[in-house]
Amino acid sequence: MSLLQSEPIRVLAFLVGIIAFAALNAAYLVWLERKEAGHMQRRIGPKEVGPFGLLQPIVDGIKLMSKQLFLPKGCDPILFMIAPLMVMVPAIMSFVTIPFSETLVARDINIGLLMIFAFASINVLGLLLGGWGSGNKYAIIAAARTVSQNVAYEIPMLITVIGVVMVYGTLNLNEIVIQQAGGFWHWNVLNLKASLLMPVMFIIFFICTLAETNRAPFDMAEAESELIAGIYTEYPGMGFGVFFMGEYANILIGCALTVILFLGGWQSPFGETFVPGVIWFLLKLYAIVFTVIWIRWTYPRTTFYGLLNLSWKILIPISLVNLILTAAMLKVF
């Protein structure tokens, strides 16, 4: 027992666990995405490989791994090879501070939220370098779009998060979850005592998560119809595979943050405690992931101007108003 609790073993266990969680989720979220897309278009989706097509992601992975890592002519080899890692590694690093339950958290540090946002901004750099390093016009256009999109959406997202941090007075994610204890009416999304606009803040944060992870309807970085595959155009085999895993890991991080900041993290919705917190956390997490995929297969891609207008004309003013309102209400009550 003492060996299991010793620090090196703990670190190793979390390291393996987090990488396995991220990789498994990346693989099976693709399966979920294809299945969900299929049923929303009233088809079945993958079904040939294994029962319900469950072995499909594994076969896809093997196919990607068996491909040659080919460097396109005119690319910057170092940037080209480094870019997928710069998307994947920060995403996995961010899992370190995510509290899956009260005790199941790799590092319960008190600036967890800040750390996640710090790593999340590296993700953009990875995409930019990938686009630039490819030496492909489509990839460069996509990279420019990604950067302006992410800059535009990081602002309302951070303003919303400032509001939440003001309410709870801490950047420690576990602490934020603990303060939302006692049934779903105590969750932050219904925390009308702190700010009347809390549900609106939740929606703004969710929209920004979609935009930050480059998901449809904000998938300007990978606009197939106009940019082939955007940044991923030149990437062969596992270079593309790592990008893809990073993208899904980022979606998971975004959804986990939404759950932690607004939906009570690992807290049970009815205040009872006999169901382990990790189950509630995963249930909420996958409900949000389902919604993200649901949104992707409902809306067409926005135009680029529509995307920026939404951010600068609607999301930023409303989140600023909300920030002021929260500050005022905190001062008065």
């Binding site: 049923h39 929303m40 278009q41 009233r42 088809r43 079945i44 649901w294 409902t298």
Partner: protein
């Protein structure tokens, strides 16, 4: 100002309507057909390649070897032969071969047959890499059918 908020609320509402439509489709039954594993039964008026029609009682072909179909065929893809056995009143069909590679499924042969001896079949899974697979011996086919 009211226009600004009106647009936001109207837009948001329309987004929710869209989500409602897709989630309804998500729970609706699947409409696609898993083709190689299951296939549709062809409709009665489907015009496949021709086949010989057998007599209800004897099962033999109704064909009297008049040769109208062969003569009317614009691409000449029907080859038929018949003989008159001794003592019989009518000619009997001995071979009827359709070269489906040149057949355009126009159906003039079916129209020209006054005896209802040929009809459209319902076959449609006819892909092959061998040209000889499209030379159909329709008499043999009728024999296998009855």
């Amino acid at each position: 100002m009211s226009n600004y908020f009106g647009e936001i609320f109207g837009g948001f509402q329309s987004l929710l309507v869209g989500l409602g439509i897709t989630i309804k489709a998500f729970f609706d039954p699947v409409v696609t057909l898993q083709y190689p594993h299951e296939s549709l039964k062809m409709t009665p008026r489907f015009r496949g390649h021709i086949e010989l029609v057998g007599d209800d009682e004897t099962g033999e072909s109704k064909c009297i070897v008049c040769g109208m179909c062969q003569r009317n065929c614009p691409t000449g893809c029907i080859t038929m032969a018949g003989e008159k056995p001794e003592g019989a009143k009518k000619k009997v069909l001995t071979s009827y071969v359709l070269n489906f590679t040149t057949c355009s499924l126009c159906g003039i042969c079916v129209e020209s047959c006054k005896f209802g001896a040929i009809a459209f079949s319902k076959d449609y899974n006819l892909a092959s890499t061998n040209k000889n697979d499209f030379i159909f011996d329709l008499k043999k086919r009728l024999g296998e059918k009855s």
